[in-house]
């Protein structure tokens, strides 16, 4: 079955004023759609057809760069839309908050570490909060459309929160001011979804 561009769980303008409608529309209907179409084009009719995206990514070192780039782009954007919400922001609670406090000292020091990873990723890429195999939470970043599910990632594990720092994610509204984009991201984080991914 071909991969399908997921619908956004909210309207294009729902994240205003933090992330603008035009950015959301192009990001979803052009960039994410492009990765999805390109992924299908390289997977259809091969032995990868019908496999889950997670299964493909976990074996990515043995696959083509087109699968890596487009498969990563397909997965990453799907996660990104879901970990944001018009009713987002604030802080996590429960076991996720306990784990953040245990592994980073405090919620604020986690936020600072994540923001720094996002700000210092040179070129295009993503910042991640990752749950490692032993349950420990770590912050990392990856280049381009790589992610921590890939067997070639430096830091591997389950991504529970991701922030797109490709310039296309923020350039129409923030231009060169990536740190301003990172700071509004905290107002739209869907911590319930992040907690769900942490507990799964």
């Amino acid at each position: 079955m071909a991969f399908k561009l997921p619908e956004l769980p909210y309207a294009y303008d729902a994240l205003e004023p933090h992330i603008d409608a035009r950015t959301m529309e192009i990001h979803h209907s052009k960039h994410h759609a492009g990765y999805t179409n390109n992924l299908n084009a390289v997977v259809d009719g091969t032995e990868l057809e019908g496999k889950s995206i997670e299964a493909i990514l976990s074996n990515i070192s043995k696959l083509s760069v087109a699968v890596r780039n487009n498969g990563g782009g397909f997965f990453n954007h799907d996660l990104f839309w879901k970990v944001m919400s018009p009713n987002g922001g604030g802080k996590p609670s429960g076991s996720l908050m306990s784990a953040i406090e245990k592994d980073f000292g405090s919620f604020d020091s986690f936020k600072a570490k994540f923001a720094k990873a996002a700000a210092t990723r040179f070129g295009s890429g993503w910042a991640w909060l990752v749950k490692q195999a032993d349950g420990k939470l770590v912050v990392t970043s990856t280049a381009n459309q790589d992610n921590p599910l890939m067997d070639l990632a430096e830091v591997k594990g389950t991504p529970v929160l991701g922030l797109d720092v490709w310039e296309h994610a923020y350039y129409l509204k923030f231009q060169n001011r990536r740190p301003d984009y990172i700071s509004v991201f905290w107002d739209v984080v869907n911590w319930e979804e992040v907690a769900k991914r942490f507990q799964d």
Binding site: I26, K30, G34, G123, L172, Q175, N176
Partner: protein, 193 residues
């Protein structure tokens, strides 16, 4: 040694309609300037403090390389653009393009394709090797062909910041526009030097 941006030989509005004034204000005034500011801060009290920009590009690593190469790359890019540019090169450069790419059109296609298919942020380069052979190479992020022993003569920025305000996700449209701005006299001079 302090590294400064070159003065641009054209006004920021003069590349319109192919590259907007707003894009150049950010690209030259903010991005390029920030790389130069960062570089000047980073090299202080390091072995690169008095190095030429070219030596920094060839020898440094990490943040000094990223910022130094981005100063070089952007200067190299902006200085080979001009209002009412485009057309075709002449003389020895044109002869070499025909020799190594068959025709100017096929060179253009290959260079455009190199820019369009560079995944993520980076640059497409036309370079000359030690034997005078021309080739096209892609470099990610701040990558620069001086490190591989090539002499670069033309570059095209395909970081999204180079075109996103003007053409958004349509990188090929930016590339098509770029051909109307290339200053072939500058490229010919670099080739013949």
């Amino acid at each position: 040694m302090k590294h400064n941006l070159p003065e641009l030989p054209y006004g920021l509005a003069e590349l319109e309609p192919f590259i907007s004034q707003k894009t150049l204000e950010f690209h030259y005034g903010k991005h390029h300037q920030a790389y130069a500011n960062n570089l000047n801060k980073l090299i202080k009290d390091t072995p690169f403090e008095n190095s030429s920009l070219e030596d920094i590009v060839k020898q440094s690593e990490g943040a000094i390389f990223n910022n130094g190469a981005q100063v070089f790359n952007h200067s190299f890019y902006f200085l080979a653009l001009k209002p009412n540019g485009g057309g075709q090169p002449k003389g020895k450069l044109m002869d070499a393009i025909k020799q190594f790419f068959t025709s100017f059109e096929s060179f253009k296609d290959e260079f455009s394709k190199s820019g369009a298919t560079l995944f993520g942020s980076g640059w497409a380069w036309l370079v000359v090797d030690n034997n005078g052979k021309l080739s096209i190479i892609q470099k990610s992020n701040a990558g620069n062909p001086l490190r591989d022993g090539y002499k670069p003569i033309l570059t095209m920025d395909v970081w999204e910041h180079a075109y996103y305000l003007d053409t958004q996700n349509a990188r090929p449209k930016y590339i098509e526009n770029y051909w109307n701005l290339v200053n072939w006299e500058v490229v010919q001079k670099r080739f013949e030097e």
